[in-house]
Structures are given as C-alpha cells and as structure tokens.
C-alpha cells in the first residue's frame, strides 16, 4: 500500500506546486498579501509530500518489496542495508525523486529561514521554485514512475550494478544534487529580481549564502565522485573528461564565477545584470547536466538504460526554462541601473577577469561536451572528444585564472596600486620558484607543464596564506595582536583563504598524479616480487573470500621499502553472484604524499595473475585540497553577514522602482 500512497503524495505535491507557482506570483503583482502568504505553507507542504513519497520508496527498498518494479530491477534480498538505501537513487526513477526532494527542500528552507525576506520577493522566489518543481514532478509522473508494480512479483530482485555497491553511492549523488539543485535558489532569486525589476546589495546578501551552500555541496559532490572513480575503476584515474563529469564541472565553474560576482554586487553595487545572467546560466547548466545524464544521448558510465520519451521531455523542459528565463532577462535586464565605477586595476577588475576566464572555460567545456552531439545530429559522423582536447583548451585558461586569483585579494576596491601589490607578492613568487626547484630536484627535471603546475600550486597556496598573514599583521605586530586579529577575522575572509589555499593543494595533487605517475602491468606468480618507485611488493598468494552477495579471490602482497616491511596490500577480484558481474577491488596504501595503488586482473590459467600497479605521487593532496575548499565554504557560510535572514536588518538602499506598474507590490511591505 505504501507505494500507492507515495505515488498519490507525488500527485498531491504536483497540485500544491501548481498552486504555489501561480497564486503567490499573481499576489505579488497585485499586491495581495494573503495570496503571497500562501507561498510559505505551500512550500512546506510540497516538501512534506515529496519527502513522504521518497520515504515510501526507501521503505520499499529496505523491506525488499519485490512487487515494486524499481526494487526488483535494482535490489536483491542479500544486498547489504546501506546499498539497499543508497540503491534507491542508483537508478533513473529514484534519482529523479531525490532531485525533486532536494528541490522542494530548498523551497521549504526559504519558507523557514527567509522570514525577514520582503514578502513579494519571497512569494516570487517560491513561485519560481515551484515552477521548476512542477516541471520535474510532471516528468516523473509522466515518464519515470518509481512506484510501478509488477504482477506477479518475482521471488527476488536483479540486484544493483556492482560498480554502484559502494559507500560512494550513498554520498556522491546526494551532495552532487544538493549542489545542482541548490543553484535553483540563485536562479529563482534572479528571476524574482527580474520580475521586480531591481537588484541591490541586499538582494546579493540574500543570494550569496544559498549560492555558497550550493557551491560547497557541489564541490564535495564532484570531489567524492572523482575519488570514487579513482579507487573503484581500477586504473587510478580521477578525472576522465567523461561528458557526465563535464556536466558537473560546468555548473561548478559557472557557480564559482557567480559566487565571486555576487561579492561585487554586494560590496560595490556593480555587475548586477551580469550576475543575474550568471545565476540563470549556472542553473541552466545544472539542467543541461541533468539532461545529458538522464536522456542517454551520450554514452557514459553514468547513463542508465535509455528511453527516448524521457530525453524529449527533458529537452522540452530545458527549452522552456532556459529560453523563458533568458527571454525575461533580455526584456528586463537592460533597464537595470549600472552601479559603481572602478578602474581596470582594482578588486572589481580582478573579479571581472575571474568571471571572464571562468565563463570562457565553461564555454570550452560546453563546446567539447556538446560537439559530438551536434555532429551526430548533423549526420557528420560519430566522434568523441577526450582528455587531449580539454588539456589543450581548458588547462591554458586555468593558468591565468590561478595566477590572477592570488593577485586579486591584494588589490583594493575601485583603484589599486599595481606596483605596490607586485612588490608584496615577491615573496610568494620566491616560494613558488623554490617549489619548482624542489620538484626538479625530486623528479630529475620533468615536463615543462608539470613544473608550471607546481609553480601554480605553490603560487596559489602561499599567495592565499600571505594575504591572510597581512590581514592579521603576522610578524609585523606582536604575536598576541596577530592572534587576536586572526580570531576577529570575518568568517568569510577565513573561508576565502582556505578555499584558495585548498585549490593550490588540489592543483599540486593533479600535477603530481598526472605527470609523475609510474605504472606496471605484468603477470605475477605467488612468490614473485614486483618493484615500483622504491617499494618491493612480494606476492604471497590468493585465497577465496565470501562476501554478503559476492565471492572473491583475495591476493596478498607484502610491501617493503629499503628492506623494511611497511604494510600489506590485499586487492580482490570479486564475482557478484546475482548479476554474474566481476569487479576488481583495488588496494591502496597512502603515505600522505603518494599512493601505492594495486588492482588485480584475471588469472592466466597457469597460476599467474595479471596486475596493474601504480605509484601516484601527490594524489592525496588532491582530496585534501578539495576537502579544504569544502571546509572553506562551510566556514564562510558561518559568516554573520551571510547568515540567512540576518541581512535585512542592515541598511537597505532606497531604490527607485523600475516600472510603476510593478511598484504596487511594494506597498504591501
């Protein structure tokens, strides 16, 4: 019965969303406070209903209700509980329910935390949020019913793809979706601002925490996905420029730009219409990502079985949302008043450069991702665009971006002293040079790009901390004063330092693992030894292991360095009994500065085993760097200025309404 209740709750949620999309919007236009007041409770009701539907789906998976098709196709009674739950979003239908649950959750968060928002703005934001909800609820109900029954129910299910039976599935999709869908808040605020016809620093203060929260979750989601691919796919790569990875990278790049341009709106009341455009584009890229993954137009590790009707539906949804919002932007944005002036060499100038480079980088990734689709549609042949393309286009754009990232925070608003800043940065330049020399000495030269990577990483890392050190007058004032200053530093400043320094660490990790990786592929018999870097691995043998829903062969290797035993590596070759699928489970040993990575292949029939062995220098720094960036985002969220609901107490600049007809809504305040 629960699945039917869940289905019914989704239908009810659609009805509530329709009301929430219409009534408050009309109320805001006509200045009817009672109509506008519907938005908050409706958002809560919508979240409650969708949350209930999601819970029934999880319940069906936990109790292994094999009368539900979705459970039959993706679960099995022997599957561990964690994967029964996580498996709910390990398939198309369930992941779409997760998507709308999070969407409705953000709407409910506005209803709860947005008490100090002006009523018309809140009503419009929630109405736009509900419109997106209507589209996706219709999509689920029309093309992807997660509650469909099977009659007669089979005795047991088909089990979940073994690749997905990993703790990564429990974390990667929810955080990724929190990021994707979180940008819907910036989008809804942007559309509401366009309807109202005004953008002011207070608006930016409301938008920033949502954007920051979405960015933080997306960073974590992308990093988790990358880490998951690294330890699970068996060749130690962490980024494949797979179309679906690009689909998550594009909103990240655009969202990063939005985060920075919103600062200019907040602090200097400039770049307003550009920020609105970025908010629309960021969420549009999230939608395009959803389309690419869910429509099955691209072959990718993420594509589930394909149904053309879904692709057409999402394409329609995409056209309406993106086309409609850009049309509204085109109609209303030119009337927005431009704000404060600034010289090219200034904090604003640096942030404009940041936005320009990030937007260009996003565009190149978009080109590379969609070009195969265009060619295919035009019948010009099937192509694929891989890592070499992105290395040749994306990476060159990141070099000036990271270089400028360090300089930007040293520049003052409006007009900056170029020579003075360069002088202060000399010490960072010296440290970067030193890092390159150390890298040369360690690696015995190395390709030029690797040294560029090391220089950039050191430049970003030390640059971030130099700016922090200057803020707290480290080594200039007595230590006690510096510590007091550090404690009094706004959380947002700490957040920026951490995020920028984290990017530096991540670049170091990317560089090390891309250029200095060593690889061995060979057949090995028990008793043999294989060498990599300065490690010796001796193969002890293989023993059978029985898991909850798989059988495995586990190999044991003793790792020695300079004749001392430093550890064991035990990679497995698993065979999942229900699906009949094999899976190689790699063993990884990390020292904090490098990973030893060992994956087991097939037995060759004579007792020899194929193995793939890697030594990945610096790769742990990639994960550490991403973690530090996420931590920076979280710290920054704690800033008092950005606390949701707090900004309204601050001065709000009187703004002249754009169109008299729209001003009526303001009377109700």
């Amino acid at each position: 019965m629960f699945p039917e209740l869940g289905h019914y709750a989704l239908v009810l949620a659609l009805v509530v969303a329709l009301v929430q999309a219409g009534l408050p919007l009309a109320g805001a236009q006509r200045g009817e406070s009672a109509w506008m007041a519907v938005a908050g409770p409706a958002a809560l009701a919508q979240f409650g209903l969708i949350g209930f539907a999601f819970a029934t789906l999880i319940q069906a998976a936990i109790v292994s209700d094999f009368s539900v098709l979705n459970v039959v196709q993706n679960s099995h009674s022997t599957k561990p509980l964690l994967y029964k739950i996580a498996g709910v979003w390990g398939n198309h239908e369930g992941s779409m329910v997760l998507w709308v649950t999070i969407l409705a959750g953000f709407g409910a968060a506005v209803a709860v935390f947005g008490r100090s928002l002006p009523l018309p703005l809140k009503a419009r934001v929630l109405a736009v949020q509900a419109m997106i909800g209507v589209g996706f609820l219709l999509f689920i109900l029309a093309t992807s019913d997660p509650f469909a029954r099977v009659d007669p129910p089979p005795l047991d299910g088909d089990d979940l793809n073994p690749l997905l039976q990993d703790p990564g599935l429990a974390l990667h999709p929810p955080f990724l979706y929190l990021g994707y869908v979180g940008f819907s808040m910036a989008f809804s605020f942007a559309i509401a601002a366009l309807i109202e016809g005004r953008v002011d620093p207070a608006w930016a203060r409301w938008v920033r925490p949502w954007t920051l929260a979405a960015w933080t979750c997306l960073t974590l989601g992308v990093a988790l996905g990358s880490w998951w691919a690294y330890y699970t796919l068996g060749w130690g790569g962490w980024w494949f420029w797979d179309p679906v990875e690009n689909a998550s990278l594009m909103p990240w790049l655009a969202g990063t730009a939005l985060l920075h341009s919103a600062i200019v709106v907040e602090k200097r009341d400039a770049l307003k219409s550009w920020t609105l455009l970025l908010a629309i584009l960021t969420f549009s890229l999230s939608l395009i990502g959803t389309f690419l993954v869910r429509s099955g137009v691209l072959s990718s590790v993420h594509a589930f079985a394909v149904d053309p009707a879904r692709g057409v539906f999402i394409l329609g949804l995409l056209t309406v949302t993106i086309g409609g919002s850009l049309l509204l932007y085109g109609l209303r944005a030119p009337a927005l008043k431009a704000g404060g002036l600034f010289a090219p060499i200034s904090r604003e100038g640096a942030l404009v450069l940041n936005n320009l480079l990030l937007a260009t980088a996003t565009a190149t990734v978009l080109m590379g991702t969609l070009y195969p689709l265009f060619l295919d549609v035009l019948g010009a042949g099937k192509v694929s665009v891989g890592a070499p393309f992105f290395n040749a286009t994306f990476v060159p754009l990141m070099i000036p971006l990271v270089t400028a990232m360090v300089v930007g925070p040293f520049l003052s608003w409006k007009r900056a002293d170029w020579a003075g800043v360069l002088g202060r940065l000399a010490v960072v330049g010296a440290l970067a040079t030193l890092a390159v020399l150390v890298a040369c000495w360690q690696s015995g030269g190395g390709p030029v790009m690797a040294l560029v990577g090391v220089a950039l990483a050191a430049w970003a890392f030390f640059g971030a901390w130099l700016e922090w050190a200057e803020r707290i007058a480290l080594f200039r004032a007595p230590l006690r004063v510096s510590l007091r200053r550090a404690a009094g530093l706004p959380a947002a400043a700490w957040g920026m330092t951490l995020a920028h320094a984290g990017l530096g660490l991540a670049i170091a990790g990317m560089t090390g693992s891309s250029f200095w990786v060593s690889e061995r592929i060979q057949v090995i018999h028990p008793g043999d030894t294989v060498e990599i870097a300065d490690y010796h691995l001796s193969f002890q043998g293989v023993e059978p292991v029985v898991g909850p829903n798989y059988d495995a062969q586990r190999a044991t290797f003793v790792v020695t360095q300079d004749g001392r035993k430093v550890g064991l590596l035990a990679p497995e070759r698993r065979h999942y009994t229900v699906t009949g699928m094999p899976l190689s489970h790699a063993a990884i040993r990390t020292t904090g500065t490098a990973d030893l990575y060992l994956a087991l292949g097939d037995e060759d029939g004579t007792g020899g085993w194929t193995l793939r062995l890697y030594h990945h220098p610096l790769v742990p720094w990639l994960w550490l760097g991403c973690g530090v960036m996420v931590f920076g985002g979280l710290v920054s969220l704690g800033d008092r200025r950005l606390r949701i609901g707090a900004p309204s107490k601050r001065r709000r600049r009187p703004t002249v309404p754009l169109v008299p007809a729209l001003a009526s809504s303001d009377d109700s305040r």
Binding site: L163, A303, T360, K382, V383
Partner: protein, 149 residues
C-alpha cells in the same frame, strides 16, 4: 572619453581577447584531438590513416587470445559483416566479455592490426554503447533496441 566608456572599452577588449584565445584553442584542439568512431566495415571502406580513432562492435566469440608476454591480449571486433583484430596491453575492463559490445580507442597499423590503448566495455548488463548499436544497425544487423542481451 569618459571613465565609464573607457572601462567598458577595456572590459570589451578583455572579453574579445579571452574568447578569441579560447576559440583559437578550441579550433586547433578540434583539428588535432577529435576522435572519430569507426565500425569495422568503415575501417575497410575508408582507412583512417595514422589518426587516433575508436572502433566499436561485438567481441567475436572465441577470438580472445592472451599473448605470450601475459599482459597483451588480442581479440576480434566484428559488426557481423567485417572484422578487425585488436591488440591491447593491460587490464581489460571488468565487463569485457566475448559476444558483447565494446569500444576500442587507438590506431590502425599499416598491417591491419588495430593497436588499442584503451578498451571500453559496457558497464552494466542492460546497456549497450549507442555507437556500437548504431554500427551494428548500419552493418545491416537487426537491433531491436538499446537493450541487447
């Protein structure tokens, strides 16, 4: 020139510079790094030269042979009309199996052997790479849907 106009001009110049550079990068990268997809029949009809390409089709049953070095594998990809022999050194993907869809990326050697540096298999039981399904269809084989068992 007013400061505002000057600022606009500088921003415009930067935009042009940035997008111009990016366009140039993208165009040259497309020239060099685009990887075309071939079916075994295409390979025979229009040999691609030394360019890196992808070949897709089914792994012919009984064709997988491990070479004496232990790590190199040879197998035949077929679109059920034409075949091509592929050589690959390394660990094959977990789901690589005879009779199933596979895509290999690499170069065609003058002697007709396809030397792959990457082999992609389908990643679950229900799914066939669309490019492979399409290659089979073009070779005249009946493929009812993307769900090919």
């Amino acid at each position: 020139m007013t400061p505002k106009k000057k600022r606009r001009l500088i921003v415009l110049a930067l935009v042009l510079l940035s997008f111009g550079t990016a366009t140039a990068l993208v165009l040259t990268a497309f020239q060099d790094h685009l990887v075309f997809f071939y079916s075994p029949s295409d390979l025979q009809e229009h040999p691609p030269g030394i360019r890196g390409i992808r070949v897709g089709g089914l792994v012919e049953a009984g064709s997988v042979q491990r070479q004496p070095d232990g790590t190199t594998v040879r197998f035949t990809i077929t679109d059920l009309k034409t075949k091509v022999t592929v050589s690959y050194t390394g660990l094959l993907p977990d789901l690589f199996r005879e009779g199933q869809g596979v895509v290999a990326e690499g170069q065609l050697r003058p002697d007709g052997l396809f030397e792959a540096h990457e082999v992609l298999a389908k990643h679950d039981e229900k799914y066939m790479p669309p490019t492979v399904a399409d290659a089979l269809k073009r070779a005249g084989q009946h493929v009812t849907s993307t769900l090919v068992q």
